[in-house]
């Protein structure tokens, strides 16, 4: 489909010249920021494991984009998605490549402002802006996008992106614990299988689906192994672990799994030799809240780990990091219907997204946080919210009450897709870290 010929419902016409100028400027900034972020991460841990080099390269977008384009020339399809509910296994089983396309570029959000008001979530505005100037390699290579109707922003984002690419919407039930919801979601998953088969021209058979599930199960094992290693004294800086987690969203999954296992081998070696990424008495921090997407939106983890006094991120509850692969698809019988049910259940039930409610509210998120605090020995939590993200903002009060009972300090930090507020954020984050250190000293 030639996007030039589609009548655009939302997005303004921009001249090719302006598109190129904007893209070149933002791309140059982006490359600079990627280099800076990586440089800072390297400096933070003088004995940084060599295995991280692979992920540093993956973070550059360039090599993976090239690789995907080569695959596309051979006829493979690419299916992009915004929310984590998109059934990756079905995409893989049809021989297509899954990529997550949420934008982490600050400057692109300003372009999104031409389409939607500034009150809208900056990640949504930035993704719109990225599409307007063809900035994101993953959005550009996508033959279709899966838009799961989680929050209001995501619902309209899919609609707006359909100005450029075909978008498949999936209705996500918001009451998580009812039989009707489970049934609706199973139907959505089955319908998605049909869409994917039609696009790729590949029938998803039992054998293909089984090996796709086995592939993500293996990845999940590597993923969990990495998070488990963060339970004890800090053997990897939080930013490094976050980057590893996040590259899963774009990488070749089989290779990502191998590289992550190799990293874990090196980390285990470090544990044996008691080589820590930072002093073991550094305050242990967890982030929960809205997703943080590479490369621009790395400011909070950087502020935490480079603060005076510093902290170390040992866990998070972000759909851009630890929530990506935390739960495996659990299959009993490898029949087609059992596998589809298992996929459906895994994407619905394992999610702790605040778009859900249930008899006990979003109890699953609370349980996740409490479990992380206890098992990962968390000393303080930063509750991170993009302005415009109503669901995360509203759930704060409940989370705060629970953490108060556990005597775990939590700080609510709201921000935008901008570099200008780093000074103010620094003041707050450092006051929080200082408070944690003072408590540890007592």
């Amino acid at each position: 489909m030639n996007s030039q010929n589609v009548e655009k419902k939302y997005t303004p016409e921009i001249s090719q010249k302006e598109i190129e100028e904007l893209r070149n400027t933002i791309q140059a900034t982006s490359q600079k920021i990627i280099a800076e972020n990586i440089e800072k991460m390297k400096k933070a841990d003088p004995n940084r494991p060599k295995a991280l080099q692979y992920f540093d390269e993956m973070a550059n977008f360039v090599s993976r984009e090239k690789e995907i384009r080569v695959e596309k020339e051979k006829g493979r399809k690419v299916i992009g998605y915004m929310c984590l509910f998109a059934p990756t296994e079905l995409i893989l089983a049809a021989g297509a490549i899954p990529v997550r396309v949420n934008s982490g570029w600050y400057d692109a959000a300003k372009l999104g402002d031409r389409v939607v008001p500034v009150e809208v979530c900056p990640m949504v505005r930035s993704t719109i802006g990225a599409k307007m100037i063809a900035l994101s390699p993953y959005l550009e290579v996508s033959d279709a996008l899966i838009s799961v109707l989680t929050c209001d922003g995501m619902t309209k984002l899919g609609e707006i992106l359909s100005d450029y690419t075909q978008v498949w919407s999936m209705t996500l039930p918001r009451v998580k614990d009812s039989e009707q919801s489970a049934r609706l979601w199973r139907e959505e998953i089955k319908a998605m299988k049909g869409q994917i088969e039609a696009l790729t021209g590949n029938k998803i058979g039992r054998k293909q689906l089984k090996s796709a599930i086995e592939l993500t199960q293996k990845a999940t094992r590597a993923f969990r192994r990495l998070q488990e290693l963060r339970k004890a004294s800090p053997v990897i800086m939080g930013r490094d672990a976050m980057l590893v987690n996040q590259t899963y969203m774009w990488d070749n999954i089989e290779r990502w799994t191998e590289k992550t296992e190799a990293l874990c081998d090196q980390l285990e070696e470090r544990v044996r030799k008691k080589i820590w990424a930072c002093p073991p008495d550094t305050p242990r921090v967890m982030i929960t809240g809205t997703p943080m997407i590479w490369p621009d939106n790395w400011k909070l983890p950087t502020l935490i780990e480079e603060g005076t006094p510093p902290g170390v991120l040992v866990a998070d509850e972000l759909c851009s990091s630890e929530r990506i692969l935390y739960d495996p698809v659990g299959v009993d019988e490898w029949s087609m219907s059992d596998m589809l049910n298992a996929i459906s259940e895994r994407y619905l039930m394992a999610s702790t997204c605040p778009c859900f409610t249930s008899k006990d509210g979003n109890e699953d998120r609370i349980n996740w946080l409490v479990n992380k605090i206890k098992e990962w020995n968390i000393q303080g939590v930063i509750y991170y919210v993009h302005r415009g993200c109503i669901l995360y903002a509203m759930e704060y009060t409940r989370v705060k009450k629970v953490l108060d009972r556990l005597a775990i300090p939590v700080y609510y930090l709201d921000t935008e897709y901008t570099r200008e507020d780093v000074g103010q954020m620094k003041t707050r984050v450092e006051a929080f870290l200082e408070m944690l250190s003072a408590r540890i000293d007592l």
Binding site: T308, P409, Y411, Y412, D414, D421, G423, Q424, T427, R428, E430, A431, F432, E434, M435, A438, R439, L442
Partner: protein, 259 residues
């Protein structure tokens, strides 16, 4: 032992010299475009008043939004950490410290040792802070220092929205057009600020004693509105605008002892 606390605020830099736990002198300079220079001025003033020189000082701790700019400091402490220290030093039973400065309002919960346990800061907007009074005084064509006494003459309460300085100003213009009296508008301005500050304090939980610090604590109009909103008494020290510097000087004393 002699220690110094420097508070590099957005509007002015404050310096305090402590000798064995007692305040011996204060200094102050406008921040202007060169906060580092202002810090040296304020420190110089305080040293002169105390008849001391920098070499007599055991430790200097800086705080405030410009704390990293101070050239003579040995360490830094967050503004919230300094508030907690100063609050408990000034009022032994203080557990909730509110600090309203020129550009920022914050509230800190602390324990009996002055260790902060929790804090909240107003959103990135000066509507709950001193700059708001300044802007509104301009709109009313009265002097900033006259706003407080003026508001106390109000016979009834009217209201404005203080979510933003700019919108607040246009609300004030609406009240002027409605021919509300200046005292009533002034009170509406303080009520709106106190609304913002008190809702922040409620989020933290109101644990008495409540102490109000920062330059705006000198404004009788704001203090009256805040007491009305919180429904309890609020303790104010003699030099509320020096509280940040005092907290930093107290921290400096602890750190000097450790070394």
């Amino acid at each position: 032992m002699i220690t110094v606390g420097l508070d590099l605020g957005t509007q002015s830099v404050k310096a305090i010299i402590l000798k064995d736990g007692e305040v011996v002198s204060r200094g102050r300079a406008f921040s202007g475009f060169d906060p580092a220079e202002a810090a040296e001025q304020a420190l110089g003033e305080a040293l002169k008043a105390a008849k001391l020189s920098l070499s007599d000082v055991n430790h200097v701790t800086a705080t405030g939004s410009g704390m990293d700019l101070a050239s003579n400091s040995n360490s830094t402490i967050s503004m919230m950490g300094a508030d907690a220290q100063a609050g408990v030093y000034l009022f032994l039973k203080a557990r909730t410290i509110i600090d309203v400065g020129a550009e920022e309002a914050r509230a800190v919960k602390c324990d009996e040792k002055g260790i902060m346990m929790d804090f909240v800061v107003n959103e990135r907007c000066a509507a709950g802070a001193g700059a708001f009074i300044e802007a509104m005084a301009r709109a009313l064509e009265v002097k900033m220092e006259d706003m407080g006494p003026l508001s106390l003459k109000a016979e009834r309460a009217s209201s404005i929205n203080a979510s933003c300085v700019i919108f607040g100003e246009s609300d004030v213009v609406t009240l002027i057009h409605r021919q509300e009296s200046k005292p009533e508008i002034a009170r509406a301005i303080f009520d709106a600020m106190a609304d913002r500050v008190s809702s922040m304090v409620y989020r933290l939980g109101v644990n008495p004693d409540v102490v109000l610090l920062g330059g705006v604590a000198r404004d009788v109009g704001f203090v009256a509105s805040l007491k009305r909103k919180l429904g309890i008494d609020v303790l104010i020290p003699e030099y509320p605008e020096f509280a940040g510097a005092l907290g930093a000087a107290l921290v400096a004393a602890k750190r000097a002892k450790k070394v």
